[in-house]
């Protein structure tokens, strides 16, 4: 029982870490241009396709390429679509990103067919290791490590470098940031690029987990990440991260511990929780007071 508990906690931490990264990727962009980019799902999918198709060439080719693909797609979306919608309100932007998501999924269908593509991406990580009677997937630990490293790197970047500081300021208050002299185009580009890197990490973890990628590969996690970001407080970078983590953690724990006959309803429980959180803390768990959400 004890070992089962620890096992489930490790799994939940790993699920929370993955979703936290995905939500953070959304929150970073939202903070700057108030876009909740649903099409991030397709960045994740694109990066995952890249891993699958290039894994033969060696991980040292496939992983950097998948990161590059994610960054390039992220910047391209900004350049081709979102940069032309600067005056739109968040709801319109969200719908536009839905449209973009739909569109790119269909392009994937056309290019790679509806069937999933498979490759043994980092199959070594799929092993289970036993440690003091606790069996955990190596991937769960790897996920937690990857997320930890990325968060640490991001934190250092945001607090120790001038570019990072500018991004942080812009995410907190974009108008004032521009008045102070922070170049709008550059920080927006930076936020999309970072969001691409985070998406690539999410793509890697999910691809190792499933080994199979289809056109709607990134949709499920992006939906949950968006939900997590909003309940955590999408106005704050830390809010998105925490909300995403929470949703991932809760979903995983419910999946393990809900009684058999209830386990089908785990997402329903999470969604009820989400509505509850929104009712009592509409601007997010980490935003103090009811406040007026910036949306």
């Amino acid at each position: 029982m004890m070992s089962q508990l620890i096992q489930s906690i490790v799994d939940a931490l790993s699920a929370g870490a993955t979703l936290g990264l995905a939500a953070l990727a959304i929150g970073l962009v939202f903070g700057v241009i108030r876009l909740a980019n649903f099409a991030q799902a397709e960045i994740i999918t694109g990066s995952a396709y890249c891993l699958i198709f290039t894994w033969d060439l060696g991980w040292y080719v496939a992983i950097p390429l998948s990161i590059l693909v994610a960054i390039a797609m992220s910047l391209l979306m900004e350049f081709a679509v979102f940069s032309r919608m600067r005056t739109a309100n968040p709801a319109t932007l969200l719908i536009a990103s839905f449209g973009l998501s739909f569109l790119i999924q269909r392009v994937y269908e056309l290019m790679f067919s509806n069937n999933v593509r498979t490759a043994p991406v980092a199959s070594g990580l799929a092993q289970t290791v036993e440690f003091a009677g606790v069996r955990v997937q190596l991937l769960s630990i790897a996920t937690i490590v990857i997320a930890g490293a990325l968060l640490l790197g991001l934190q250092l970047f945001l607090t120790r470098t001038s570019q990072g500081l500018q991004l942080k300021a812009a995410a907190a208050d974009f108008k004032t940031a521009r008045l102070v002299g922070i170049p709008a185009g550059r920080v927006i580009g930076l936020s999309f690029a970072l969001s691409g890197i985070l998406s690539a990490a999410v793509a890697f973890v999910l691809t190792v987990q499933t080994g199979a990628v289809g056109p709607s590969f990134g949709v499920q996690i992006t939906i949950l990440a968006l939900v997590g970001a909003v309940i955590g407080g999408i106005d704050k970078i830390s809010g998105s991260l925490a909300g995403g983590f929470l949703v991932g953690f809760a979903t995983s724990m419910l999946a393990t511990w809900l009684p058999q006959e209830m386990s089908n309803f785990k997402d329903a429980f999470v969604f009820v929780l989400v509505i509850g959180v929104l009712l009592f803390r509409p601007s997010g768990l980490l935003i103090k007071g009811r406040g007026v959400a910036r949306t």
Partner: protein, 247 residues
């Protein structure tokens, strides 16, 4: 006192800020209707008037933060069409209404960000030192989160942050708003120093009497137009003040 004369030699080339025939509209509704004014180096100019007269819009338009027509010359150079981040690099800085310090960042980081818009990086340390001397509280609280400062301290930080970009022209939007009388004194003493250092100061205020006395010239705005130009001695004259408020 003179009516209709903005007290400036129009179009003169030189250091300082020249605004000519500035118009701003929000969704077709005019907010600023043909304002012309000049602020020379070492001079403080006030803008007063009722809410909605177009004071803030004037400052934001000069910064390029909202759409406008008309000419804005900085040291003789037309800055039409530049976005705020570029306007900062021509030597104009705005201390926005409500201060808007980056609350989650430290005081030191706020000041560091202010330097992003500097034209030359070399004077950074010197500028920082000057600002910390002017506002000692910022030195003491360097590592504190800006959001934890009092209103007056935040206003000092906001001015310090603006000065970090080494502006020739400093604009302030209601710097006394919500501050205690002592805090207001601190702010205006600092503005006096800044003016003395040869910078052009343009300040929007609600507190008419105070502003008229402080500034070299004060313009009264009504419905987006300058209706009066006042000199410091007008601060004593009750009928002038009444006219300033009620048009």
């Amino acid at each position: 006192m003179s009516i209709g004369d903005n007290g400036s030699a129009r179009g003169s080339i030189g250091s300082g800020l020249v605004v000519e025939n500035l118009h701003v509209a929000y969704g077709g509704v005019p907010a600023v209707r043909g304002i012309s004014l000049e602020v020379k180096a070492g001079e403080a100019v006030g803008l007063i008037g009722p809410n909605g007269a177009g004071k803030s819009s004037t400052l934001l338009a000069i910064m390029g933060a909202i759409g406008r027509t008309g000419r804005v010359l900085v040291d003789g150079r037309d800055i039409a069409g530049l976005p705020p981040e570029k306007v900062v690099r021509t030597g104009v800085a705005l201390v926005p209404e409500g201060r808007h310090v980056f609350a989650e960042l430290t005081v030191a980081d706020n000041l560091r960000l202010g330097a992003v818009g500097r034209r030359d990086r070399s004077g950074y340390a010197e500028a920082l030192e000057q600002i910390l001397t002017m506002f000692p509280i910022l030195r003491d609280f360097g590592h504190r989160q800006a959001g934890l400062l009092s209103g007056g301290q935040q206003q000092q930080l906001a001015i310090g942050r603006a000065l970090m970009s080494d502006p020739d022209i400093l604009m302030l939007d209601e710097p006394s708003l919500g501050l205690s009388p002592t805090a207001v004194d601190t702010v205006f003493e600092a503005l006096d120093l800044i003016r003395g250092a040869g910078k052009a100061v343009l300040v929007v205020e609600q507190r008419a009497e105070f502003t008229i006395a402080f500034c070299d010239r004060t313009f009264v705005l009504h419905d987006g137009e300058i209706t009066l130009t006042l000199k410091p001695e007008d601060a004593e004259k009750v009928d002038v003040l009444t006219k300033a408020y009620f048009g």
